[in-house]
């Protein structure tokens, strides 16, 4: 694993978590514990970094919510021929936008009745390159059934699979910085935005700014899905909280009355 300067916060955050989990008052005392591998700390430490690696069908209750409630809801306000737009931001190496596409193809009865545009965006151009390649290891595919893997991937060696070309071509991948309004606006309006497990890494000011930008990127009545430990209510009062059978999501009010 390589963490560049851009991942400093990611690294800090995990080291601090492990320090507090082990009751280490200083970094020096934690480091001593790590070097001595006390109570399997090395493994715990590694897990803290890898547990947040993304994979296909992660938090699938939100995907279920997408096809059982959100899309049907959005379709009702569409004129015929208007596309449904879904944004995965950040999309990292592509697991999320590709999961959304596969999930819809497998689970939404109206999949052929609408033009669905899925856009995946990330600030990191390296992960976007990887997403464009669309090559994934076992770990990324662990939640997919063999039938789905067979259907949507081509094995390139015993450890790696490449997502089928037509699926790669169905997803638009772009770079975006969520706190830069000029960049987010260029992406247009969406019906559903997946913005999972990223705002927690922002400071308060950038988190608010990103939330405001995302609000602007939503159609009135459009939905935003955060990670299951995140709460939009704590970040911004702009959104309404909506409870569906499978997930809690946030919605831009129909009447655009800013706050």
């Amino acid at each position: 694993m390589v963490f560049n300067e851009g991942k400093r916060y990611f690294v800090d955050r995990r080291v601090i978590d492990r320090m507090s989990a082990t009751g280490s008052a200083t970094f020096a005392s934690y480091f001593a514990r790590l070097r001595g591998d006390l109570q399997n700390e090395v493994e715990q430490f590694i897990n803290a970094f890898t547990i947040n690696e993304t994979y296909f069908y992660r938090e699938d209750q939100q995907l279920r919510c997408l096809t059982s409630d959100l899309l049907d809801e959005r379709v009702r306000s569409k004129k015929r021929g208007q596309p449904i737009r879904i944004w995965s931001a950040p999309c990292s190496t592509g697991e999320e936008p590709f999961s959304i596409a596969i999930w819809i193809l497998e689970n939404w009865r109206q999949a052929d009745a609408h033009d669905i545009e899925i856009v995946g965006s990330d600030i990191d151009t390296k992960v976007l390159e990887a997403a464009r390649e669309g090559i994934f290891g076992k770990r990324a595919l662990m939640r997919l059934t063999p039938v789905l893997i067979e259907k949507y991937f081509v094995a390139i060696d015993p450890e790696r699979w490449r997502i089928v070309q037509s699926l790669r071509e169905s997803i638009l991948l772009t770079s975006v910085n969520l706190v830069e309004a000029s960049q987010t606006r260029a992406h247009g309006k969406f019906d559903v935005i997946f913005c999972r497990n990223v705002l927690i890494y922002f400071d308060d000011a950038s988190r608010r700014m990103a939330a405001e930008n995302l609000y602007e990127n939503l159609e009135p009545g459009g939905y935003i899905c955060l990670g299951h430990t995140e709460s939009m209510s704590r970040i911004s009062p702009l959104f309404e909280v909506c409870r569906f059978a499978d997930a809690i999501v946030y919605r831009k009010p129909l009447s655009d009355g800013h706050g």
Partner: protein, 128 residues
Amino acid sequence: MADDRKRVLVVDDASLVRLYYRKALEDAGFDVAEALNGLEALEILVAGPVDLLIVDINMPRMDGVTFLKTLRRKELPLASIPALVTSTEGAAQDFAAARAAGANFYLTKPVSQAKLIEFSSLLCGRPR
């Protein structure tokens, strides 16, 4: 064996719709080619006929009705390729327009994968 496989050309501007149909058709043993609109479909057919066309109506550059009209004026065997139209347009005049243009059957979207296979098989003379 491979020669028995029927070849289907899916003509639809929405990439996920093409993929949705492709997966259903491939699972059922068809070979699948794709075109984004009528013009592209005509170009693909120049290289050789297929056993079945699945054609959307609303498409940019050349819509499904224009495509079918153009195709039916071509020489055989192109002119006689069976065409299954799938469209969100569900009014009687839409059916009539497609039939007049040369559609063999019309299904209103959403079309389940099972139904797509049922009608595709029938139209290429491979009843199941």
